[in-house]
């Protein structure tokens, strides 16, 4: 496969994943901003930080009103991570790698792009927001469904999966990073209304509010939430799950091409570290430190993949 094609697939799926994650952050932010106990301005500020676009936002806006924040996150093409920018990028990459995609996947991406362009043409009013967010989720699910249902399980699929998993790991880690203080045992007043709202937001940001409660019954503690987000191998957005997907797909590539590369050593080292840790050791060493070094590693693995498989010349 052309290195450029591998890169196009990887980034196409990273951007699709990003658009979905951004939409989910907006959804969680919108929800918590509506609850009376919270401070909406600081909520939107933390959403923008989690999305990694706060500097960009601050250059353009004063204050953190819901209207400005939502518009910046969904529509603004000056924001390279906005839903619209992400979908544009995903589709440009899809056009570039058109020959590697099944008709179903290509049409799903192209349809998503057409629908998003129409839905995000005008500013989204609060009344319309749930509908638009739902649409974003539906369309990214459509592409993912087409990917799983129609694509050959070869290197094309592997690079697509890598894009999804790297982006998703980054997203979950950043959600933990921005909210880590609410997960520290010292900061917890069990049962306090504020913490409940914060925890709920975190879980909603990763679409896991219900699954977490299903799995953990009434044990809603900072530690159990952190454990779930980092280590639960059943949860498809946990760091451990994403790391496993990266490991597996890099493994398929090594087998397929018959070559082991530096990225393989890096993911193996990360897997070993995760396996050797428990939530107790993480808290001992410091949650914040653990998460920031995970983000750094994940990023480095992504860059190494790009280099090892010649995405660019």
């Amino acid at each position: 496969m052309l290195g450029k094609t591998a890169g196009g697939l990887y980034w196409m799926f990273r951007f699709l994943e990003r658009s979905e994650n951004t939409a989910r952050l907006v959804e969680a932010g919108f929800r918590i901003a509506l609850t009376r106990s919270s401070d909406p301005e600081s909520e939107w500020k933390s959403v923008l930080t989690t999305a990694g676009v706060r500097m960009n936002y601050d250059q353009k806006h004063d204050g953190y009103s819901a209207l400005d924040a939502i518009d910046f996150l969904l529509r603004d093409t000056d924001n390279p991570s906005s839903v619209m920018s992400s979908i544009n990028n995903a589709r440009s990459n899809a056009r570039m790698v058109r020959t590697a995609l099944t008709t179903e996947v290509w049409e799903a991406v192209n349809e998503s792009w057409m629908a998003m362009k129409a839905a995000l043409k005008m500013p989204v009013t609060q009344a319309k927001l749930p509908e638009v967010l739902g649409e974003i989720r539906r369309y990214t699910a459509l592409v993912r469904g087409a990917l799983h249902g129609t694509m050959l399980r070869n290197d094309i699929f592997d690079f697509s999966q890598l894009g999804i998993a790297i982006e998703r790991a980054d997203n979950t880690a950043r959600i933990i990073d921005v909210k880590y203080y609410t997960l520290l045992p010292s900061a917890s007043f069990v049962g306090s209304a504020l913490d409940n709202v914060q925890w709920e937001t975190i879980l909603r940001s990763v679409s896991a509010y219900r699954s977490f409660r299903w799995l953990n019954n009434d044990d809603i503690s900072p530690m159990s939430i952190a454990d779930f987000l980092i280590f639960d191998s059943r949860f498809p957005r946990s760091l451990s799950f994403c790391s496993r997907i990266i490991d597996e797909n890099l493994g398929y590539l090594a087998k397929d091409y018959g070559t082991r590369l530096p990225c393989h050593d890096m993911i193996e080292a990360q897997r070993d570290r995760l396996r050797a840790s428990t939530i107790a050791t993480v808290f001992d060493e410091g949650l914040h430190q653990f998460i920031t070094s995970f983000i750094r590693e994940n990023n480095a693995i992504g860059l190494q993949i790009e280099q090892d498989y010649s995405f660019v010349g």
Binding site: L2, K4, R98, T99, E107, E111, Y257, S310
Partner: protein, 475 residues
């Protein structure tokens, strides 16, 4: 324009009749419901949008991707007509290849005085770098899209030879696919020659032109300028259909005297490159140094015989509009036969007498830039205002050698489908010929372009033209 003039309509005859090739279609059409067809027409458009069959328009900031309108009434060519046409195209393409070989070798035709030396030597499309180079298989134009117009029952004219990188073949294929999906019953009733073999034939034909040193199955790739190119859809479509890689300049480099593409497993040699990048941009070391689209050093690899470039660099000298007027002589010079397909009468404005005639009769002529394409920079005299005529006359006087002029042809019409029923519109035809050492393959039919505006003669997609499926009937 000139709607009073009598145009030859390829379908309609008299009050209610149709010409012979359309008899069976008319039988089907007369039982169709207009509202059902309108619905089908809308479906086709949605289908094109969804599948991304679009082209990019230059010079329009926000527009970027547009659809080429598709008309659902097919253009039908009788078997007998096609036999003659394809013979004529084959002869012409043979002539073009012989001409190119000669021009880049001994230049007999210049010595014989058939074509003026200046026309070649001073022509920007002539590449001195190609002198003495024989392409693998001695094929210069692997793919040709000859533009043909019709003015009467038996009157076909070649309008342009398009020997560089003709586009439009993807529309020929998709139009048929769309028709098959919309009206499957039509194709069981009427025997139409298939076009779907084109990608397979193209791949075979290109592979047959691989360099002599290529061992095993040749690796073919398509070189595209990238996703912003107006014909990008076609490039990716053909790569997809042929099962070959679609590469850009930055994917390629010279490795051990060969052209190789950067893959996830290192560099891999390419034997045949179907390039959709113009000569000027092909090699920054040999042509435009600022080109980001090409491959530095590819011309050296080419001259060493280690890669096939399709079409060969320098083929533009054969489809230049100034050379065009000599084409009947060129064909006769190399084939010893009279040209089967006629040329349109052409005035070379570089000649003082011709220039005078053109200026005196500007309102009746079509004037084209010698190096122009896509319908840009051309004047359709009968449709132009007095002001436009005067402005164009000034341009002509300033650089006459830059223009040729032709009489306004009374192009044939084929009806398009409108809400109010059938309406005649002017059409042209671009059949596609594939050339390899094994012979020539011409896909029956080709791309029919149609001017959607009543009376308009401009069929270019960049200027409001549409397309039709083109049928060549089985016997």
């Amino acid at each position: 324009m000139n709607t009073d003039r009598q145009h030859f309509d390829e379908m309609l005859l008299g009050e209610d009749g149709v010409r012979a090739p359309y008899a069976e279609y008319q039988e089907w059409f007369s039982h169709e419901d207009v509202s059902r067809l309108s619905k089908k027409s809308k479906e086709a458009e949605a289908f094109f949008r969804r599948t991304g069959i679009t082209f990019n328009v230059y010079g329009q900031a926000a527009a970027q991707e547009r659809l080429i309108p598709f008309d659902l009434i097919p253009r039908i060519i009788a078997n007998r007509e096609w036999t003659k046409l394809s013979k004529g195209i084959e002869q012409r393409v043979r002539g073009v290849n012989a001409f190119l070989h000669d021009i880049y070798h001994r230049q007999e035709i210049l010595r014989a005085g058939v074509v003026p030396v200046d026309l070649i030597a001073k022509n920007a499309a002539f590449l001195p770098q190609m002198m003495g180079v024989t392409p693998p298989g001695n094929v210069y134009t692997h793919i040709v899209g000859t533009d043909i117009v019709r003015t009467g029952e038996d009157d076909f004219f070649v309008l342009e030879d398009n020997a560089r990188t003709p586009s439009g073949v993807s529309y020929m294929l998709e139009n048929r696919e769309t028709m098959l999906q919309m009206f499957p019953e039509l194709f069981s009733q009427i025997k139409v020659q298939p076009v779907s073999d084109y990608p397979k034939n193209l791949r075979r034909s290109l592979a047959a032109c691989a360099p002599a040193g290529c061992n095993g199955k040749p690796t073919v790739a398509i070189l595209t300028p990238g996703i912003h190119n107006s014909a990008y859809f076609e490039h990716s479509f053909l790569a997809d259909q042929m099962g070959v890689e679609l590469v850009e300049g930055h994917d390629l480099r010279v490795v051990d005297g060969h052209i190789a593409m950067r893959t996830t497993e290192g560099y891999k040699t390419i034997d045949v490159l179907y390039r959709r990048v113009d000569d000027d941009y092909l090699d920054p070391l040999n042509f435009r140094p600022d080109s980001m689209l090409g491959v530095p050093g590819i011309m050296d690899v080419y001259r060493a015989g280690n890669i096939t470039i399709a079409n060969a660099p320098g083929t533009g000298i054969a489809d230049d509009k100034a050379i065009y007027s000599y084409m009947p002589d060129i064909i006769e010079f190399y084939t010893g036969e009279k040209a089967i397909l006629k040329n349109v009468q052409t005035f070379r404005c570089s000649e003082p007498d011709a220039l005078k005639y053109v200026l005196d009769n500007l309102a009746d002529l079509v004037v084209k830039e010698v190096h122009g394409s896509g319908g840009y920079g051309m004047l359709v005299g009968p449709a132009a205002s007095k002001k436009e005529l005067a402005a164009f006359a000034a341009k002509l006087r300033k650089s006459p050698a830059n223009y040729i002029a032709q009489p306004t042809l009374s192009l044939s019409t084929v009806p398009i489908f409108t809400k109010k029923g059938l309406a005649p519109r002017h059409v042209d035809l671009r059949p596609f010929a594939l050339v390899s050492p094994d012979g020539m393959n011409i896909t029956p039919g080709g791309l029919t372009r149609v001017a959607l505006k009543a009376g308009s003669l401009v069929v270019n997609s960049s200027q409001g033209g549409g397309t039709k499926d083109t049928w060549v009937l089985e016997d």
